[in-house]
């Protein structure tokens, strides 16, 4: 990792020079100094999703994740409160926890045996008498470093390094609707993160993934190699998943007909989502689908017919919470793209269980996770190939501008933000406008 002083941090004018209404300079993706500024002003200042409450149900439960440039532990303390702690022993600086999740009443540093409680406070040190009289177990300098700002929205835990952030709800804005919709789909009004997830790393900038998630123009080209075989394959040849995988592969065969009716939505702050997508196949409820029928009945029993129709009627795909969270409520899927370096990104892909829904609903979510998020996915692997090729091209000096002009003349503005048809690059323009605003804001 590069030390902060090693690079000349771009000025606000430098950054403004990288973004035009319809073009972005390649340095936005390839310049380590720009990346460093992003780490400070986007990943260091905005609310960043860190964990789901269902992962830390009881005292001592923890998950290891990243926040800005830090590795952090999200823990549940003995007082039931959530903590976000830098994963580092304050004594000699050693990494403390070496696993991604688990339960531990104490975090013990194996070097000189400083022992910490799940809230990060120092519980004990051996050979206390050899430390100076001034050494105080209660001194916060001797505790695991705490991230002070933590807020939760309906089970989704966000944290920020910003000591004076705007309220989480302001940042999320209308994106709370998709978190609401995901949770409301659970008959018991609660979701639980599935125990399995995938971690996939690609050799490209983090923004490439966020742009790709807002891009419904690419699938028919990038995913042709899985659409074509799925079209040739007979229906119901697979008995494992009621044809779900084949239909998902088929669904990427977007043409003019499928683009009709899809609307892209761009919101202030850089958020974006698609509406009215995937109106065929297993991705929507069919009349004679026993699993969906049973699930619907379980929801109706809890919240009534009218509310059920309202909840299940929400058809928003790839809900992108700026900067790095993607939620698909109707398939209970979530992705987090974490920047590792200017040209390296870690993507974690999760799914949720709807509490109170039939088990088969969760099996479908797990299946969706594999089909779309596994490293061997016949879809995601082609996306990653494209993201890496973009990075390879953008790391070269030739042709410095990237074109984001498609749809520029037909985008519309309403009271909530920007609207466009499926083929527009409006969401990327919205993302870059937000990027520009965040990077040029001097004060937090």
């Amino acid at each position: 990792m590069t030390e902060p002083h090693a690079l000349d941090i771009p000025t606000a004018d430098d950054i403004r020079g990288l973004v035009r209404p319809d073009h972005v300079h390649r340095r936005a993706y390839a310049d380590p100094a720009v990346f460093q500024l992003e780490q400070e002003r986007i990943f260091g200042r905005l609310w960043i999703y860190v964990a789901h409450e269902s992962q830390v149900k009881k005292p001592g439960d923890f998950v290891r994740t990243r926040l800005g440039g830090h590795e952090v532990l999200v823990t549940r303390g003995e007082d039931e409160k959530i903590n976000v702690l830098i994963n580092r022993c304050p004594h000699r600086g050693a990494r403390l926890c070496m696993v991604d999740q688990g339960t531990s009443r104490l975090f013990s540093c194996p070097y000189h045996a400083w022992v910490f409680k799940p809230d990060g406070s120092l519980s004990s040190v051996p050979h206390r008498q050899s430390y100076p009289a001034s050494f105080d177990l209660n001194d916060s300098n001797n505790h695991m470093q705490r991230i002070k700002q933590i807020q939760t929205y309906r089970g989704f835990i966000f944290a920020t390094l910003n000591e004076n952030p705007e309220p989480l709800l302001n940042h999320l804005g209308a994106m709370t609707e998709v978190i609401d919709n995901l949770v409301d789909r659970a008959p018991d009004g609660e979701v639980e993160m599935g125990e399995s997830y995938f971690s996939v790393e690609y050799r490209g900038n983090w923004k490439l993934h966020m742009e790709n998630a807002a891009d419904i123009f690419h699938p028919s080209f990038v995913h042709a190699s899985s659409v074509m075989p799925a079209r040739k394959a007979p229906a119901n040849a697979s008995i494992l998943d009621q044809d779900q995988t084949r239909e998902m592969l088929l669904a990427n065969g977007f043409g003019f007909k499928e683009w009709e009716g899809i609307q892209l939505n761009g919101l202030p702050g850089g958020h974006a989502y698609m509406t009215n997508i995937y109106s065929n196949g297993v991705l929507v409820q069919k009349e004679a689908d026993p699993v969906a029928t049973q699930y619907r009945a379980s929801l109706v029993a809890k919240v009534g017919e009218e509310r059920t129709a309202q909840i299940l009627g929400m058809n928003r795909f790839n809900n992108i919470v700026y900067p790095n969270l993607i939620i698909n409520a109707q398939y209970q899927q979530m992705r987090v793209a974490t920047p590792i370096a200017v040209d390296r990104t870690l993507v974690r892909i999760y799914c949720f269980r709807l509490k109170g829904a039939p088990d088969e609903m969760f099996h479908r979510s797990v299946r969706f996770l594999t089909t779309l998020g596994s490293p061997a996915s016949m879809i995601f692997s082609d996306d990653i190939e494209m993201l890496e090729r973009c990075q390879q091209g953008l790391s070269k000096d030739e042709g410095p501008w990237v074109d984001f002009s498609r749809g520029l003349d037909s985008d519309r503005r309403d009271t909530n933000g920007m609207l466009s048809g499926a083929a527009s690059e409006m969401p990327m323009r919205v993302q870059f406008q937000a990027w520009l605003n965040y990077l040029t804001a001097e004060a937090a």
């Binding site: 599935g194 125990e195 399995s196 997830y197 995938f198 971690s199 996939v200 790393e201 690609y202 990038v222 042709a224 190699s225 899985s226 074509m228 075989p229 799925a230 040739k232 394959a233 007979p234 119901n236 040849a237 697979s238 008995i239 494992l240 998943d241 995988t245 084949r246 592969l249 870690l346 799914c351 088990d359 969760f362 099996h363 797990v366 299946r367 996770l369 594999t370 998020g373 596994s374 490293p375 061997a376 996915s377 016949m378 995601f380 692997s381 082609d382 990653i384 190939e385 494209m386």
Partner: protein, 163 residues
């Protein structure tokens, strides 16, 4: 009856599978599977549940045939240039597993190493194969192949060729 001849035949069957994959004969490889055969690559060490725990791959013949067809599609981005592989299979242990519809069945364990070369990238995979095989005349067919990657739960780059 299980004997050294059967052990040798099964070893040769596993070598044939490796050769089919390494030579890019994915359709030939698929023919080694029973019509209901399953290819399973878990995402966690010791994973026993393919329904509640996501797998890297959990596919039966119907989905595998799409995967194989994709490997033959010229437009598969992730396959340009086409990866070249070396599958090495060893430590093959065979256990008889009774009869399945009148045919002898076997449980087979083996270790594997696979090196994937693609462009300037070289990726090393290793782990343990477990097979449920049934005899089919002179040959064998795969009912289930479980590919337990040593680092199944690690962060991965995209995977292309079956291991």
């Amino acid at each position: 009856m299980f004997d050294q001849t059967t052990q040798r035949q099964i070893e040769l069957f596993l070598f044939e599978e490796a050769r089919l994959l390494d030579s890019g004969d994915f359709q030939g490889w698929l023919k080694l599977y029973e019509p209901q055969g399953i290819y399973w690559m878990p995402s966690k060490p010791g994973q026993t549940d393919p329904l509640n725990v996501a797998s890297i791959i959990y596919e039966d013949h119907g989905i595998l045939s799409i995967r194989v067809q994709r490997l033959l599609e010229e437009r598969a981005l992730v396959l340009t240039p086409m990866p070249r592989t070396t599958h090495v299979v060893g430590n093959i242990e065979v256990e008889p597993a009774g009869q399945e519809e009148g045919e002898a069945a076997f449980k087979v364990g083996a270790t594997f190493i696979c090196v994937v070369h693609q462009g300037d990238k070289q990726t090393l995979y290793s782990g343990r194969h477990s097979y449920d095989l049934v005899r089919s005349g002179e040959a064998f067919r795969i009912k289930m192949k479980r590919v337990a990657l040593m680092n199944s739960d690690a962060t991965h780059a995209p995977m292309t060729i079956p291991l």
